[in-house]
Symmetry: D2
Subunit: 410 residues, 4 copies
């Protein structure tokens, strides 16, 4: 084919696109849209290099899928050319349903419809456009294909998605401690009874993978300043919705306007082609353009939130192991109302609390399987003293409250 | 100070901010704006990792300035604390006047006012806000300070600006060949008779620096596909300006609207505070938000250009050593008019030609000085057989024409 | 000085030697000898890149010491130029007493005298040669200097020695998972009440440091094949000693001969200048040259061990959680005696068992101190859920037996 | 097979051994010997990390060969499994004939027999041991196989040997400027009319390759201090030979003794199995063990040379563009004779002069072929303005003289 293409990836080196169908999917506007959705939302406010996109991550995960399949084939696992293509497409499109600022706005812009739902709708639409050629990919993506291990490569405790994003996020943030030996882990992959397993001598790499992931959560994904700015963005969008509901006009793009004005359900997405079309038009640009426009709006709350985000005048965030008491929050709200000359009930827009948690290794969501030299398969946590330690399997919860810095000095 | 701050930079490791004034400058909205201006414009269309910003580059160059000054001080060159601060601020702000998509739109949005002009205006404004504390930095920036070598560190054939951007652009594009041994070059810096010089044993690193820079020009900055998409963006903005002049309404941000509607001169910037304020509000987001909105406009030309950029349906580009002839261009325009059903005179918006050039080592713009062990200073091109070769000092010109891909098959 | 020197280090970049005395110490034959002692003994049999030397590591640790001191000084900790020089020399020479193949032969060649003993003797001798200029360095090295934190930088649970060797060993083995964020840890260093502490926001880096160290132990330092070849080398040297005691002549270097023939005690080293002079002549070359010569000796046991090491025909190693039983070992010895036609009592030279252990974080040997924003100091294991987990503080023991591969198939 | 093996390579990541025969060749003592021959001789005296071996380089070049073949096959070039195996073995063994300190002692220890000659003899012997399975590899190695491009991959201006050693030497020395985009170059490889060609868009990578190679020559391979210590080693070995010819006994290994005492010719190697067996026993260890022993010899000249090398008390080296005059040399010799109390005719052992040269791109030795999109093949120097420049095609000669440092101050 004359469509052969190579991407230069500072993380993995050269990424080769080996198939015309994959080339055509990458060219599709749905996929090109991912160029405008950053992988880590607003984390670049703390790690200025972290501007990489879902587009780049999807290509990287695709590259690792090809490596994994190649290793498994060398080890004698039967994988047909169709299955390889299907798994490759499944991983390429696994995040296609993400909206602007990914997880941050996932439950704000559109309530009750998560990105997996939307990914499936996009997959169906693309399958129609490409004459059913994505049917096997969809089965693998949804976990309904007979060879289950292919789905595990796409989505499990140790899938190529995680291997790529941990590596990529470490690379672009500069947090070297998050580095995972993805190539070693892939070398150790095998399949036993249709189950994806890791050969026992890779156990230390698995431990390191779990620990690195935990570190990335606290140091990057749930970094306190990241939490804070994300909350500020959520509040800004919620305030905008609230104002619009109260018939205030706020300039923004047509696509964003659609989701601010309407309560869109999964049913709408499935039946109303306008919904998915508007969603396909939505990306980080719409949100930031709106913030830039709203920073001059007459509503003081919205204007304060927007200009604070844009100029990186971040709120103060306090983190604790226990929830904040009602009275602590009330005191802060009173301060805010007085300081910003707001009605008491408006103060909640500037004082926000929430909690976050991390589960380093949650065996309930499936475990990593280890195969020993005799062919016995066990759960990783039964083999590694380290993973069995309760600290990793325990859910860690942190509570936080955010408020304008001005309040901390009064 | 409790404002001590560290940035995580995947390129240089940790960047420490050692001074309160520098911290405050970084916090200023003018500087934060650089977070929204990509260093390499649309190069991420070819190198998906190349999303780094002028903000990041400014911090990196600042970091190298501190290294260079520290090395020079160890070698006995007198540099006071004030001078160090001044040079640090000068490099931090050297690109503050860049607008959206930097060089691409520099001569399109605002004619006759380049980014250096605007940098100086920003510097003056910041100097006022910071009670004259930037006066020395401004002198160093403009080259009027007595110790000329400080200006050379900010701006010359071998300044820390170039050392950072070559390194950074290599890193984020993944073009390893552009790697420059910036640390070795800085180790070899010295000052003789108020002139920045390189110690002779660094001559191979200097050669490598020139060659790497040349390679980055052809492989990245002037990559044919980059040229093409940049031209498409220029044409889209020019078409928008043209339509607005003809009283067509096009939605866009207030700041962008200001520059599309008005012919702003350097004089306006100096006298009309509105001009600089609007400029300070302008960044990559405004332009991309406009493209997204204009792709649905009723003007076919503008709509085609915008949707082609957004969906990365790039035009075809042909590059030659000689200019294209009038008749070749006319033929293409006729094809375009026919194919897109446009009046003949509109075809020029879809068929564009231009030329670009690169000068690997232009001794007329100042040379790199080499000092031998006896203390004699010579121009690099007199010492290195390599640099004296005409191929490096010759200006290389390439001509190109771009047109919609559809035309190449008819 | 005209002795200014820069080392090119692929790990840390450029290492600058800032002081004439340090330059002269590096030039001394005692220090140059470290060029011929590999940091990781025979680990290159498994990781072919792991050929780096104690010389290189000493320079790297020295470089990190300078970084640490520079950070502490910026934070207001008083460290005089003399103290800086003393601490720099202390770390530069911390491993000067290592003999050939470091830990592997430490208890074989010379019984009852470890490398710390010998380091102190070398330090005293150098101090004499350099007119007492190393006195402060010796105090810091031995922990008798008033500012205890300087000793902690040289030797503690989180010293620059460990930071360099983990980083360096990761780099040259290619085991990326061992990467430690040494620069971040150094950035987080501080001193409180004369105690080296880490600022609390560095806690994840500390966790990662402990985990990475643990991983490096199992994956590199105590890798089963490394254990096996090291045991083979020990047995070869012990066999040679045994033969020499029984009046068999074995060719080898004069220095090695001295230690094979004589039982040297610490007292000998302190009183007999010949002992330390011979030791200063001894390095990896002597041992490997001996192996090469002995592989042709008439003693079958020694010849088998030597040629097996040289040609990398490694023995088989079995690792278990419980010690091997007497009868298992006896059975192996019988097999060996039969197969190699040896008297029963000679079989022990080819069948060897031992145990090894690792202690990821042994609080009894001193703990890592964390300081919070209020200035309170606590042990790391009291703050980090992760470090308090018993799995890290428990000593892990592994038992192993090695025997010629031929025996496994009969 | 249960012989599947993976090497951890810090340069290329994991290197997989895919074939039992290759595994067995690697296990052979001839190949294991390469573990004891450093790739860059004594360059670690200047670049302390440069301790990597011919063993490691051979594995790396083998890895790149497999990559290159895989790319060519994807592009439709027919390469059978046998040919792939043959080319892989040919590159794996391309340096098998190197002796201790490679090029340094190549013309000193054994006159008139270079390492290519010896490689061929080793190849023949291995072919016998492996029942003729290396016949195709030998044909490819010698360039007599019908598909010539396979030989070009092993040995030409742009073979995988060069791609690996430039990359590897850059990596271990830390000279980043030598980095070559080997993966990009391999991606651009193709075959036209049985000729290995590079696709035109790789032209900048080719230029960079030539420039980087030139830089590595002057900065590493022919670094003045490297030249000096190599000359000192050559003189030490020559002096030892001279003493032995004069019936002085010098202790050393049996293998080294054989080559010091006898004048071995190519004919001897071909007919006398003892010669090749002794050569197979010879490596860097023998030479360094000899130096260590000879440093205490009664011959002052040899003793001075050996202890100077071991303690890195290097001679002074002066480099010029013109040869030194007879009288300059005579003057130095007189000084040396006086200072070291030597007979006049012995002074030549301490005063040595020679010349060295580098040819960045010598079109006479074959050129790099570039293929354009129309399928036309041209020489790289005809396409690249850069490569056609005379500076690269000119041979650069440097003259040098070395003498003990003591002489420079009298």
């Amino acid at each position: 084919m004359n469509k052969r293409k190579i991407f230069n990836d500072p993380v993995h080196g050269f990424i080769t696109i080996p198939h015309e169908l994959i080339f055509d999917i990458i060219e599709h506007p749905y996929f090109q849209r991912l160029r405008r959705i950053k992988q880590l939302g607003l984390s670049d406010y703390i790690y200025p290099g972290a501007l990489h996109t879902r587009f780049h991550h999807a290509l990287g995960a695709f590259h690792l899928m090809r490596k994994a399949i190649s290793i498994l084939k060398i080890k004698g696992i039967e994988i047909t050319a169709e299955e390889e293509l299907g798994a490759s497409i499944a991983i390429l499109l696994h995040d296609i349903g993400h909206g602007p600022f990914s997880h941050t706005l996932e439950r704000t812009l559109i309530k009750g419809v998560n990105h997996e739902h939307i990914s499936k709708i996009f997959l169906q639409k693309l399958n129609q456009e490409f004459d059913g050629k994505l049917s096997l990919a969809i089965k693998i993506f949804e976990g309904t294909y007979t060879k289950k291990f292919l789905h595990s490569l796409v989505s499990s405790q140790l899938d190529v998605d995680r291997l790529d994003y941990l590596t990529r996020d470490s690379f672009f943030t500069g947090v070297n401690e998050g580095i995972v030996s993805y190539d070693r882990i892939i070398e150790m992959m095998n399949v036993q009874n249709d189950e994806l397993v890791i050969e026992q001598k890779g156990i230390y790499s698995i431990e390191n993978f779990i620990i690195s992931r935990r570190l990335m959560y606290w140091q990057v994904y749930l970094h306190k300043t990241v939490l804070c700015v994300e909350q500020m963005l959520i509040k800004a969008v919620e305030r905008a919705k609230y104002l619009i509901e109260n018939d205030i006009t706020l300039p923004c793009s047509e696509a964003l306007d659609f989701f601010l004005k309407n309560k869109i359900t999964l049913h709408d997405f499935e039946t109303n082609s306008q919904a998915i079309q508007h969603f396909a038009d939505l990306d980080d640009v719409d949100v930031f353009a709106a913030l830039k426009s709203w920073k001059n709006t007459s509503d003081n709350v919205l204007s304060l939130l927007c200009s604070s985000i844009l100029n990186r005048h971040l709120f103060k965030i306090e983190i604790t192991k226990e929830p904040f008491t009602e009275s602590e929050i009330t005191k802060l709200k009173e301060k805010a109302a007085a300081y910003f000359k707001l009605p008491q009930e408006e103060a909640k827009w500037l004082i926000f609390q929430d909690s976050t948690y991390n589960h380093a290794y949650n065996a309930k969501q499936g475990t990593i399987k280890i195969i020993d030299q005799q062919g016995n398969v066990q759960n990783a946590e039964n083999i590694s003293q380290h993973l069995e330690a309760t600290v990793l399997s325990e859910k860690v919860v942190k509570y936080f409250v955010c408020y304008p810095k001005a309040l901390s000095t009064i």
